[in-house]
């Protein structure tokens, strides 16, 4: 399957800033970065200094993620005519996110935006902030910032001046939007997302673990499948990590690639690799011990197309990190791949699971044929004395199928125009009913990702009447939704675009029965403004 959607402009215009930033020694970086600020920013900003440190007006009163600082610098270049070279920009992003970043706990609720995993409806957003701020952009965009009250107020003022239409929207024009935003919403934001927090205070002082080394990586590439690989991160002369990735997809095909990574704020991993000739990006967060990283890997040219990614450091310890697939039907046999490191000793898949044959075995990958002879259970996967939190679910029946993403937006494009189509990839997750025998309850047992056949249907009578399912796009057997062509369509009423509201239907075969799950898909018009963070 062709992964590329040829959104070349993004790559050509991008400088790879986040993956390319060098890792000078902290002291050298701080001195250099402060000099860059003095050279490039003090036409507008001012410096205050005491014996201990320098502070810069506005800049020192905010904390952001690497992507957040990147956006700030982009805005300074575009709107304030700041002259900053690409290298200076990289150094500033590194310095600012290291010294004024977010603690792991602060970024945790919003990792989806950093990971560009945006086919979701944000949950738990304060109603007021939803109406005042998140009606145009994501709630994560401001949730990933920390500011003083003054700074939140100035952000409101910037919005008011830059986008005056903001006062005229529904939800604004019926009330004094600016006064509310400036006085009340800013205060709410400064309480919810203040500059000074115990989390940052602790994290900024904590000793950071070097993430160089050998990592056991598991992940998913749309169209290719689940994979396991080794990724080595070696410190280069420029302070970045040189990456090499080698492994196999679940079907045995080779996955191979190399690239670079930079770590920000002591835990924010940003990698760019060319894997099987396709440029991909990694966004992961390391845990505090620097032993496990988790996040997402996606196409550099099409960040909607990607999958989860997890890396466990090789410390010489025996560990099981995954079993693929993670389920086995009672009474049936299947081939299972156990992924880990330093694996030695007997393989135990739990009571009632018989290992018929060990097809291949190494220290990090074991392929077996196993038969579930017992009753449904969730079994630990054990190899010798290896650490394992990996489970194999033995099930009797698929009771429920969830489609992921549950809510997605794709966008029409192509047809000779500048804007490319924005696609989406789907997966089906199977569940058994659990002890209560009823699907859709809390005790349902997640079995894992399952093969499915895919189809689309109109979401309701209106969509059916408008033939959305015929015009808005199609889904491939592998679960890739490809939206329709851009431009007015004379075949549709009023020459409407090929937009539509659809359900994406996954059908999972479970013996003689079929189980369906649905996701909601909006096929929409182009998004002409592509920010680092939406």
């Amino acid at each position: 399957m062709a992964l590329n959607n040829n959104r070349l402009k993004r790559v050509l215009m991008g400088t790879g800033a986040l993956a390319l930033a060098g890792l000078l020694s902290p002291a050298a970086l701080a001195t250099d970065a402060q000099e860059i600020i003095r050279d490039r920013c003090l036409a507008c900003h001012t410096e205050s200094s005491d014996a201990a440190n320098s502070t810069f007006s506005r800049i020192s009163d905010q904390r952001k993620t690497p992507e957040g600082w990147h956006m700030t610098l982009n805005r300074m270049e575009h709107l304030r005519d700041a002259k900053i070279s690409a290298q200076e920009k990289r150094e500033l992003i590194k310095y600012l996110s290291d010294t004024q970043g977010l603690a792991p706990e602060e970024a945790a609720p919003f990792r989806y935006l950093l990971e560009q995993d945006t086919n979701l409806v944000e949950s738990g957003v304060d109603e007021n902030l939803m109406q005042m701020c998140a009606r145009c952009h994501s709630a994560a965009r401001f949730g990933l910032q920390r500011r003083t009250l003054d700074e939140w107020q100035m952000l409101v003022d910037f919005h008011m001046a830059q986008f005056p239409g903001i006062e005229l929207h529904a939800g604004s024009r019926d009330r004094p939007w600016y006064q509310l935003a400036h006085n009340e919403t800013s205060a709410q934001l400064s309480e919810q997302y203040p500059l000074d927090t115990p989390e940052w205070n602790n994290w900024s002082k904590a000793k950071k673990v070097d993430l160089k080394g050998r990592w056991r990586v598991t992940g998913y590439v749309p169209g290719k499948g689940e994979f396991s690989a080794w990724m080595t991160a070696a410190t280069d002369d420029d302070g970045r990590y040189n990456l090499k990735l080698e492994g196999n997809y679940a079907d045995g095909a080779v996955i191979e690639g190399s690239g670079k990574a930079t770590v920000y704020t002591g835990y924010e991993w940003r990698g760019t690799l060319t894997i099987d000739s396709v440029k991909m990006r990694q966004v992961m967060a390391a845990d505090k011990d620097g032993q496990v990283m988790a996040g997402r890997m996606f196409l550099a040219m099409e960040d909607e197309i990607g999958g989860e990614l997890r890396a466990v450091k090789d410390t010489g310890k025996a560990q099981v990190v995954a079993v693929m697939p993670s389920y086995l039907k009672a009474g049936e046999s299947a081939e299972l791949v156990i992924v880990g490191q330093n694996l030695d000793g007997d393989i135990d898949l739990g009571d009632g699971v018989r290992i018929d044959e060990v097809i291949a075995r190494s220290k990090d990958r074991i392929v077996v044929t196993a038969t579930a002879t017992g009753t449904p259970a969730v079994n630990d996967v054990q190899v010798g004395s290896a650490d394992s939190t990996v489970a194999l679910a033995v099930f009797d029946q698929v009771a429920r199928v969830d489609v992921t993403p549950t809510n997605a937006v794709t966008r029409i494009g192509g047809n000779g125009g500048e804007m490319e189509k924005v696609r989406a990839t789907y997966r089906a997750i199977g569940y058994s009913a659990g002890a209560d025998g009823e699907a859709g309850t809390d005790d349902d047992v997640r079995l894992g990702y399952m093969p499915a056949s895919w189809s689309i249907e109109p979401v309701d009578e209106v969509a059916e009447h408008d033939k959305d399912h015929l015009y808005a796009g199609e889904i491939t057997p592998a679960g890739m939704f490809i939206p329709g062509d851009a431009g007015p369509n004379p075949e549709r009423k009023m020459s409407a675009n090929n937009v539509g509201r659809l359900n994406v239907v996954a059908t999972v075969d479970d013996g003689d029965s079929k189980v369906e799950g649905r996701g909601s898909m909006l096929v929409s018009v182009p998004d002409f403004v592509e920010r680092v963070l939406d």
Binding site: R10, N74, V121, S138, N497, L522, F528, R531
Partner: protein
């Protein structure tokens, strides 16, 4: 409202809404990340979560609907931020293929 007759689909939909509170509920709904919940008019969705009240096709009155900065996170704001975005596309319904995106330096 009792003396006014709804003439188009959008007006009929508004009439069908049971109460102002119900309209408010829909207006405040959350959308998929990257979409706007500003729906008067909307870019991706109309106030009822559908497509029936959108400007369609969007090219036919893009500049009137986008109104220079109505959806600045989705359509370049030509009032302040990207004044030249559409300078070569006087008629979007004819030259929509030339409309390009704003790609922030986002690698």
């Amino acid at each position: 409202m009792k003396h006014l007759k709804s003439l188009n689909k959008k007006a009929q939909l508004i009439n069908k809404a049971i109460s102002p509170e119900e309209v408010e509920d829909v207006v405040a709904m959350q959308t998929v990340v990257g979409c706007t919940a500003t729906t008067d008019p909307g870019w991706e969705l109309d106030p009822f979560g559908g497509l029936g009240s959108l400007c369609q096709p969007m090219e036919s009155d893009l500049y009137g609907c986008a109104d220079a900065c109505w959806w600045p996170a989705q359509v370049p704001d030509t009032m302040n931020t990207y004044p030249d975005w559409n300078k070569d596309v006087a008629k979007a319904n004819e030259d929509w293929r030339k409309l390009d995106g704003i790609y922030e330096d986002g690698e």
